[in-house]
């Protein structure tokens, strides 16, 4: 601060000295002219010249005006009768004084203006050059680091300071360090302590920059979010004129454009990469499903044929039956694994359509009837047609998994019921699968939907399953925006699994 006042004082001193000098030189020249008996007009012209010169070599209008007054006063003092006083005998001199003063003021003002214009033009040119350089250099950059380097170097050069730049990552979190210019050829990376606080301040910014302790942070606004900040040291920032701020703003905008361009290129590359991976993954899944299912279909068909060729009491019948059942189980497992892979990667796109509840349940029961014809499943659904938006294939899978579970835990002839009702208040359709089996152990209930979790306490050989079925159910129901719960029946033995599905497609779902 004191430096600033010092320099200001020095400037005032120089300008005053220049003014005095010119007036003095004019007076001496005038004296010379007079002794050489030149007409008085010449002396006046010399004074006017001194005023113009003062205006040319000093800053601002003030010295021009001071020089004008001084020149008039000096002329009056030295060259008008009575000499060496400020009084005048000949009143016509007043006209001379007036014209002299007026001419001096006008000419000095004009000179100052011309000088000002020249200065502004020079500044404009410098700005244009700087901007041109910046955009030129930015165009040649190929990554964020280079963009930051170019921006920091150019801004530092233009504003004659050690500017810095802090980048935000894609989720808008500030990086841990920022790049600052150390000297003309060197950049350093400095650690930032209160990144998240800064981020918060930038988000709530109402002015064009945020003033911190060491730096003023100017946000770099990208198309969708803040990409980072340009950090100008506080003392430099205070001295910036409106024009300079505007220039800085323009430079930051150029930087933002460069960063946006880089991000969009990145985005394009990434989506290309994703598409390739997606295609690869899709091919892999298709290959697996085809390569596993096809031989399994063959095994199942052939073993079934063998069963058809032997008598039921023949030992070979039960051998063939064993092959068939194992193949069937493997087939169900392949289906479940494929579904789970798709679900867990979050890549599953629901093909939601309004489906009649009776048709969906009917299909699930038809599949179960084929698998376990010895069980009779009762159905309890509303009399009126109930249409619920869902991905029918997945919901059927859920119902089949739940029914499969119920069948596994219920002795033949036991009661298994599928019911559906509407919860009016919540606008949800609730599906329930209830059995009369042994129920669920209390400790299993919280974890029953976890992947690979199987209930304990039973002979593992008869309870074959690797705990995928219920995990798939939960994923499918959650993807539909519903919930699934497991509990023991209150009206006697048995377990009840129920899940709810929203009756209306939500707005954001519809847009997907």
């Amino acid at each position: 601060m004191s430096e600033k006042i010092e320099s200001r004082k020095a400037q005032v001193l120089t300008c005053t000295l220049i003014t005095c000098c010119f007036i003095l030189i004019a007076t001496v020249t005038g004296w010379l002219f007079r002794s050489l008996r030149f007409p008085e007009t010449n002396i006046v012209v010399v004074y006017i010249l001194s005023v113009i010169l003062t205006a040319r070599f000093t800053k601002g209008y003030v010295y021009g005006i001071i020089a004008t007054i001084a020149a008039t006063a000096a002329f009056n003092y030295v060259f008008t009768d009575p000499y060496f006083t400020l009084s005048v005998n000949d009143p016509t001199y007043f006209i001379t004084f007036a014209i002299m003063t007026l001419t001096s003021i006008i000419t000095s003002a004009l000179t100052s203006k011309v000088k000002q214009n020249a200065l502004e033009a020079k500044e404009k040119e410098a700005e244009t050059t700087a901007l041109y350089q910046l955009t030129n250099h930015l165009a040649a950059t190929s990554d964020i680091d280079e963009i930051v380097n170019v921006a920091v170097n150019t801004i530092s050069k233009i504003f004659n300071c050690h500017a810095a730049c802090l980048c935000f990552d894609e989720s808008g979190i500030p990086e841990t360090g920022y790049i600052q210019q150390k000297n003309e050829h060197e950049l350093v990376r400095r650690h930032i302590k209160n990144g998240s606080e800064l981020r918060h301040n930038i988000d709530n910014l109402r002015t064009s920059y945020y003033a911190g302790e060491e730096f003023c942070d100017w946000p770099i606004h990208g198309q969708d979010s803040v990409l980072g900040t340009v950090r100008i040291p506080v003392e430099i920032n205070e001295q910036l004129s409106e024009e300079q701020k505007l220039l800085l703003h323009t430079m930051i905008e150029s930087t933002a454009m460069a960063m946006d361009r880089f991000h969009s290129v990145q985005e394009r590359l990434r989506s290309l990469e994703e598409a390739t991976q997606e295609r690869y993954r899709g091919n892999l899944l298709r290959a697996i499903s085809h390569d596993l299912r096809t031989p399994l279909s063959g095994i199942m068909g052939t073993s079934e044929m063998l069963m058809g060729m032997t008598e039921k009491n023949d030992e070979r019948y039960s051998l063939a039956e064993g092959i068939f059942k194992d193949a069937d189980w493997l087939h169900a497992l392949v289906e479940n694994i494929l579904n789970l892979t798709r679900l867990q990667e979050g890549k599953l796109i629901l093909d939601k359509q309004e489906e009649a509840v009776e048709e969906v349940i009917g299909s699930a029961i038809a599949i179960m009837a084929k698998r376990r014809p010895d069980y009779d499943i009762s159905v309890n659904i509303p009399d009126d047609v109930l249409l619920v938006p869902m991905d029918a294939r997945l919901i059927i899978q859920v119902l089949v998994n739940l029914l499969d579970n119920a069948v596994k835990h219920t002795p033949v002839g036991g009661d298994i019921t599928v019911s559906v009702w509407v919860e009016q208040g919540k606008n949800m359709a609730v599906f329930s699968v209830a059995d009369r089996g042994c129920g669920i152990a209390e400790k299993d209930i919280p974890r029953i939907f976890q992947v690979f979790y199987t209930t304990h306490g039973k002979d593992t050989d008869t309870q074959r399953g690797i705990g995928l079925g219920l995990a798939i159910c939960e994923s499918v129901i959650n993807a539909h925006g519903g919930t699934i719960t497991a509990r023991n029946r209150l009206d006697g033995a048995g377990a009840e699994f129920s899940f709810s599905l929203p009756m209306e497609v939500k707005q954001d779902d519809a847009q997907k």
């Binding site: 289906e335 048709e359 029918a392």
Partner: protein, 232 residues
């Protein structure tokens, strides 16, 4: 073992499945030709008198769908498509492209034979050109002349739309009809995508003919594809 005249072409690239299908068909007395690729299938079709084709959709050389389109350009030969479970859209597309029926892997010999019987029956019916006067499945019967529907011998009242729907199914007993096909036949062109109307109509009809709409005896739902009136 009854010897039949029909010659069936099995187009399937997996040897194991092909063997099992061929064996099952021969057991039932059919003559069998096989092809492992679409190219072979097409050349067999032009050189041999084939009565029915079993076509796997996933062939090594080109898509089974193309085979259907090509065959349909010159022949009304019954085609039964064989596909994996998660290809609902392809099934429906294959049916709309002219396939007569489909089977989902894995399938049993019983299922296979049932579908072949249905397809062949339709083939002969189409050849006979005589108008049916009435038809029945189980306890459900339809009188095409009087436009009446009977269940357990007593007449049941159906709306004209429901009658048309039921008549369509009775003319295609055992055959799967795609939603698109039914919509076109019942409502005409222009109602192409209003599947909801069909669902509501179907639900109404089921309440009149089925004891329990969720466990249908007559009209079965083939989710993602369409409906089928059972033939047994």
């Amino acid at each position: 073992m009854t010897l039949r005249n029909e010659k069936i072409l099995v187009v399937e690239d997996d040897t194991q499945i092909r063997n099992f299908i061929c064996y099952a068909l021969k057991q039932d007395g059919f003559q069998v030709e096989t092809a492992g690729t679409a190219q072979n299938a097409l050349s067999t079709l032009v050189s041999e008198p084939i009565d029915l084709m079993l076509l796997d959709l996933g062939l090594p050389d080109f898509d089974g769908m193309e085979v259907i389109t090509k065959v349909r350009s010159w022949s009304e030969l019954p085609i039964i498509v064989v596909s994996a479970r998660d290809q609902d859209k392809e099934k429906a597309l294959a049916l709309d492209n002219g396939a007569d029926d489909y089977l989902t892997k894995p399938f049993s010999a019983t299922e296979l034979m049932a579908r072949i019987r249905v397809a062949l029956r339709h083939l002969y019916k189409a050849g006979s050109h005589t108008e049916q006067k009435e038809a029945h499945v189980g306890d459900l019967s339809i009188d095409f002349e009087k436009r009446l529907v009977h269940l357990n011998g007593s007449e049941i009242h159906v709306t004209p739309l429901e009658y048309n729907l039921l008549a369509l199914f009775f003319k295609n007993i055992g055959k799967v009809l795609t939603t698109q096909y039914i919509l076109r036949e019942i409502y005409g062109i222009g109602y192409g995508t209003d599947t909801q109307a069909l669902r509501a109509l179907m639900a109404g009809l089921r309440r009149k003919i089925e004891k329990s709409p969720a466990k249908p005896r007559y009209i079965l739902t083939e989710i993602g594809v369409g409906y089928r009136l059972t033939d047994e």
